[in-house]
């Protein structure tokens, strides 16, 4: 057992750090640092910078443009991105759709879709949940009927993150209703420009527009957009959920956020001193930090087992539950740190304007984050479902 970085790892870390320093556009960094919402263009610009360097599709097989990095290098890379406060990589294309395509797709499909994902020419979104199918994803009803060389798709998808920006959507659709519900589900790629696709915003309690309803009304989809066999959708979905669960913990970002909060306790005035004089608050901060350490080293153990040839399996549920608990606890601590100044509401327009903000500079995003982060224990398979997965698949209950 050796948990420290090797010489080469440290050299790699320095290389990544200096690349980010030289190439992370200052106008995007400024927005990220002062909590101004970043635009689609900002995200694409940054992701293209990584693409160009060959550092975007890092987890892919090398033949399709992956990095060939060791688990430790990937870990270092993610940490450096988070440290520098770069925009989160939008996972839907690169980390979700692409692994399905290179694992289950035909050669034609790989050639057709993967380069555009790797190079950030196409924005993907995920069409899984439906109004009646949340945790019980397999009960989904969106229907795809085969007519000649096309599927005719009808149904409604919901909670579709950033569908308003998307060029393509990967969907779970029902191609057969005769058997048990897990059978008859297929994995279909749909061009968002197809006639019959309509996106409607869902505004969430933090006042933001991040998720959407996607209506599919007699949408014609070429049969060649089916990934895998008809009816293979459920096993593809399970494969993908395991991928999603490992990414969802967001631990590198949490490390930066907790350090930032510690810094804030030294700056935020309290009586004649600073918030750091409040021992009860500092105790809570330290407890979260300890929880974060245990989550981080659990993630590292998982990564190490993957690098030794294992697959992210049911144990990735631990990461999802642990990571999302932490995201929520930390966002709540930020709210507590601010006291009354957590209450003023600033719209996205307010945040983009040059007018002086109310309260400390970092305050504007604090309550919206707390409210928005309620979602993290709900999406990607709710934490209740994750517990069922552990109970069944790990404990054998």
């Amino acid at each position: 057992m050796n948990l420290s970085f090797s010489e080469e790892d440290l050299k790699f870390q320095a290389e990544v750090r200096s690349f980010i320093k030289e190439n992370y556009p200052s106008e995007i960094k400024e927005k990220m640092d002062n909590g101004t919402p970043v635009s689609k263009d900002d995200i694409v610009t940054w992701q293209k910078i990584l693409s160009k360097k060959g550092w975007f599709a890092i987890n892919w097989p090398e033949e399709h443009g992956g990095s060939g990095w060791s688990v430790t290098q990937k870990f270092i890379f993610q940490n450096e991105l988070a440290e520098a406060n770069t925009p989160n990589i939008v996972p839907f294309g690169v980390s979700m759709c692409a692994p399905v395509i290179y694992t289950f797709g035909t050669e034609e499909q790989k050639e057709r879709f993967l380069p555009d994902i790797r190079d950030n020419n196409v924005w993907w979104c995920q069409g899984y949940s439906e109004p009646g199918s949340g945790s019980d994803l397999a009960s989904l009803k969106t229907k795809a009927e085969k007519k000649g060389d096309k599927y005719i798709v009808n149904g409604t998808k919901t909670w579709t993150t950033m569908a308003q920006h998307a060029d393509w959507i990967f969907c779970l659709v029902r191609t057969d209703s005769s058997g048990i519900k897990q059978q008859g589900i297929s994995f279909l790629l749909i061009d968002m420009k197809s006639p019959g696709v309509e996106v409607k915003p869902i505004i969430t309690i933090d006042g933001s527009h991040e998720v959407n309803m996607v209506y599919l009304d007699n949408v014609e989809v070429p049969a060649e957009n089916l990934i895998g066999e008809e009816g293979a959708g459920w096993s593809i979905a399970k494969f993908l959920l395991a991928h999603e669960r490992t990414g969802i913990g967001g631990i590198p970002h949490l490390k930066r956020e907790i350090r930032r909060l510690r810094q804030i306790t030294e700056e935020l005035p309290l009586n004649e001193g600073f918030l750091k004089d409040d021992q009860l608050f500092m105790d809570k901060l330290n407890k979260v930090e300890i929880d974060l350490l245990s989550a981080e080293f659990t993630e590292l153990r998982t990564l190490a087992s993957i690098s030794a040839g294992g697959h992210p399996g049911p144990e990735s549920s631990i990461l999802k539950i642990g990571g999302t608990d932490l995201q929520q606890s930390l966002s709540d601590l930020y709210v507590e740190a601010l006291g009354y100044y957590a209450h003023p509401f600033m719209s996205e327009e307010d945040l983009k304007s040059n007018e002086k903000r109310i309260g400390p500079d970092f305050a504007a995003n604090v309550m919206p984050h707390y409210l928005n982060y309620r979602k993290v224990s709900i999406y990607g398979g709710s934490n209740e479902v994750q517990r069922n997965v552990i109970a069944k698949a790990v404990l054998g209950l």
Binding site: I205, K284, P344
Partner: protein, 375 residues
């Protein structure tokens, strides 16, 4: 021992519940919150007609002599309907300050207008560094000829945008944290040197940042005795803490009800969510926490009513418990609603937002735990 409220109090409670059911459904509230004023002046008048605005004041001041139990009843009922009209800033805080400390002239100028719903007040007591400590006052009032000159900054002043007059705490003597040396002033919003930056809070209420720059006041702007306002400020904020705790408990009750209802209708895996034992246990927990917190509310209201020695300590016990219960019940309600819980469209998220801001207002759980320990 008697936990029952009087017939009159029951009528008051029913009156508010009927008002909510008939005139204040969620969509009406949502429209109000989005207006520039952020609440309805007409409903405020209705509350005046109901006698709610006069409740805590003495008969001499035109009121009904209501006590902490009456305030509790009003605010708990308000909580169930998520009423946004600024009762606590106007009546419980500012009105009470005027009633307890005001000269005859000050009362005459303010109380009749406040009670009939024509005047709006706000109490500016918090500063960026003061957090929840009412004795931490840096806003300065220096003697200026026959009157005073005020300089300083007050933050997140509840009901600031609507307020015709502000009651401002300022230091006339002593150092930053001294209880002695704090005075109160009645300041017209139009006074030279007063600037307000108005905004909405996440819970739909309105507030302001208040800057005072060489604000010249005559001596009759002083409310109560110079240097001696602290104990009354504390007394009034204690009552407001009881009031906002009652509101929170009304919200908790409603959130538990909404969640129970939702889990009975929402089906996943071929059965209602309410049939899953893992979720049943959690709803039992939130039910218990609400009941236990309500017990502390009744205890604190009764102790305040009796002016009991440990009334202040019981208020801290209550607000500590409210802070913890609000977090648990609020977060569980959203979680059990799933994705629907985080949408702007459903009422549950709006109850959650108000419950979340109440965790902070007049001191969060940590603050009151420390205060409880010190008493």
């Amino acid at each position: 021992m008697d936990f029952l409220i009087s017939d009159e109090q029951k009528q008051l409670q029913d009156l508010i519940h009927q008002f909510i059911q008939k005139d204040y459904p969620f969509d009406v509230r949502e429209k109000l919150v989005k207006t520039e004023e952020g609440f309805s002046k007409d409903f405020w008048k209705t509350f005046s007609q109901f006698g709610l605005l006069a409740m805590p004041f003495s008969e001499e001041d035109g009121g009904f002599n209501g006590g902490p139990v009456d305030i509790m009843i009003i605010l708990e009922a308000f909580g169930t309907g998520l009423i946004v009209e600024p009762y606590i800033p106007n009546i419980v805080l500012s009105g009470n300050l005027v009633s307890k400390l005001g000269s005859k002239d000050q009362k005459d100028a303010i109380l009749p207008n406040l009670l009939n719903g024509d005047m709006q007040l706000a109490f500016a007591f918090s500063e960026p560094q003061s957090r929840f400590d009412l004795n931490d006052v840096t806003t300065a009032a220096e003697i200026d000829g026959d009157g005073y000159k005020l300089n300083g900054y007050k933050c997140v002043v509840m009901n600031g945008p609507a307020a015709d007059k502000l009651i401002v705490s300022a230091r006339t003597a002593g150092s930053q944290l001294d209880e002695n040396g704090i005075s109160l002033f009645i300041v017209d919003r139009e006074t030279k040197g007063v600037s307000l930056r108005d905004y909405s809070n996440v819970d739909g209420s309105k507030a302001s940042e208040l800057t005072l720059e060489d604000v010249v006041l005559t001596k009759d702007a002083l409310l109560g005795k110079q240097d001696k306002a602290f104990s009354t400020i504390e007394e009034v904020v204690n009552l407001a803490t009881l009031a906002i705790s009652a509101e929170a408990i009304g919200i908790m009750q409603k959130m538990n009800e909404l969640t129970l209802e939702y889990t009975k209708t929402r089906e996943q895996f071929g059965q209602a969510l309410s049939q899953f034992q893992a979720l049943q246990h959690r709803m039992v927990d939130t039910f218990m926490v609400h009941e236990q917190t309500k017990s502390l509310l009744l205890m604190a209201a009764a102790k305040m009513n009796d002016k009991s020695e440990d009334a202040v300590k019981s208020i801290s016990a209550l607000k500590y418990q409210v802070g913890n219960a609000a977090k648990l019940i609020g977060e569980e309600a959203i979680q059990l609603h799933g994705g629907m819980g985080v949408t702007e469209e459903m009422s549950i998220g709006h109850y959650f937002k108000r419950l979340t801001t109440i965790r902070t207002i007049f001191g969060n759980a940590d603050y009151h735990l420390k205060k409880y320990s010190s008493l």
